[in-house]
Amino acid sequence: MGGRAGLAARVGTVVIVVAVLAWLPQYYGTTDTALFAKALYIAIAAMGLNLLTGYNGQVSIGHGAFFGFGAYTTAILMNDHGWDFLATLPVVAVASFAIGAAVGFPALRVRGLYLALITLGLAALFPDLVTKYVHGTGGTTLVQPPQPTSPSWATGFAPQNDQWRYYLALAIAVVMFVIAWNLVRGRFGRALIAVRDHEAAASTIGIDLARTKVTAFALSALYAGIAGSVGVMITGLATAGRVETFQLSIDFLIAIVIGGTATVAGPAIGACLFVFLEQAAQDAFPRQPLLSPAIFGIGLIVLLFVLPDGVVGGARRAGRRVRQLTRSRHRPQLDPSTTT
């Protein structure tokens, strides 16, 4: 679908989706709303990681570190220095971008699976850095910032604090989505893909390889940092265990693979699916909490096999097949008496 009709349809879809997302906290209770909010901030991180991994082909399993960085930066600024939540976001954005760029430069010389390995080092290193440099409540590395409360003017639609925080998260997520969408549709998006698919060819048509790859890293770090800020705003707790940081890095990857790497929305959808799958696996065996990672792991493998290009890819293929079927049904029958 192209042209004006296509654009209208896309915008319409986005509006409907946002409307549904906005309605959710009105109907559902606190626990569910928190779950939806988690889906939102995982989605932000996943969208950013997809810019790096899906569109630019650089696999990172260390973005949990950037998430944690954003979480702690926001938490410390709010807790120790009394900042307002929204005011911390630009700081996190700039700082995450800078660190991402700093990581992206040496990454230029390291390829493929070795890069994945180095980023693993990031995820492994971050908790140690936090232990060393962050002094939180009671000497441990937990930081618990005050969480935003619902302002008086919002009492109409968000009387409760958790609803207000959800809407904050939603607004930020929508903004990040629109930014990513615009980036991908423009020159930068094409450069990302060109560099991923054929570096030599990309450089001959004048694309600056280093700048593209480093910017991709920096942007993905920015997204993960913002996601971390939103995360700490929702949960009220910044922590950095080794397992957690590694787990988060994997969660982002899972989200983009489930959702599909070929679109901006795919990772967001994948994030939602992932959060619900995780919860479902936990709810399935309430008396055997140990079983849920096993179910999740097996379920993930099955899902990967059935939908190799993610949910969005699978939906597209299904749509194509439906269109093929309807097209062949409308083909006019040849009349043997009239053919020469």
């Binding site: 040496p106 140690d128 055997q288 097996i298 993930l300 990967l304 096999f305």
Partner: protein
Amino acid sequence: MDVDLFISQLLNGLSSGVIYASLALALVLIFRTTGILNFAQGEMALFSTYFTWWLTDLGLPVALAIAISVVASFVGGAFVERVIIRPFEKSSPLVIVIATLGLFLALNSLAQVIFGTDAKQLASVFPHTVWTVGGVRVSSQTVGLLGMLSVECLLLWLLFQRTRVGLALRAVASNPESCRLLGIRVGAMLMFGWGLAAALGAVAGAVVVPTTEALTAASMQGVLVFAFAAAALGGFDSPLGAVVGGLVVGVARALTIQYLAPLDNIELVMPFAIILGVLLVRPSGLFGTARVERV
């Protein structure tokens, strides 16, 4: 500088280094034969080690338990390749990475469900003696591990360089399609590679765990990161490189903890800094043969 302290830290580093090296061997084996980074290697070894513990719990002597576990792990590894990894042979490397991560999660939790979450004690195959050589304490565990690693390295080298199967394994890693055209059963080779790596992992777990406090679900997670560092340092397609890499990583870590006070608590920086440095200068690692990258 206190020479005795240095030497004892060196030996500390070596003893943890052999731990990293033994898991790194398995990682290198899989990468060499299938081009996959198996993030589930540690948990496969963990599962094997739990199985070994269970056999000793039934009353079998440790050495026999390890032997049975090695055979069972070989079968298990081949099974994992055929059932879980093979369906993804045409998928992108990212999908395969995630599949191994899914396997990581599944194995870790299944081990806990089947064998219980309490910490287990696993007896060691090596005697617990400490020798004093020239004023320095050397543990027989470390020496035993080093010896075992050397034997493994030698056997792997013989396999790859002197046997028909080993040659076929290297060919499969190089160009699977050409192998098919020569009548080599690529699938069987892949299963063999994974089975062998799983067997190596079983050995690694069984000799490594007794040197730590106890067998728990987290036993292998710390090791995995360092094992990857060791394998990367060694070039990912050289068994000897994995061993040397493991020792270097272990020693670097011990010396960092001891001598670089500013890096206190973040001594992980050292091994990764080493890897990064080596990769920047020699992208295929210290011992690796330069090859066309797969990703």
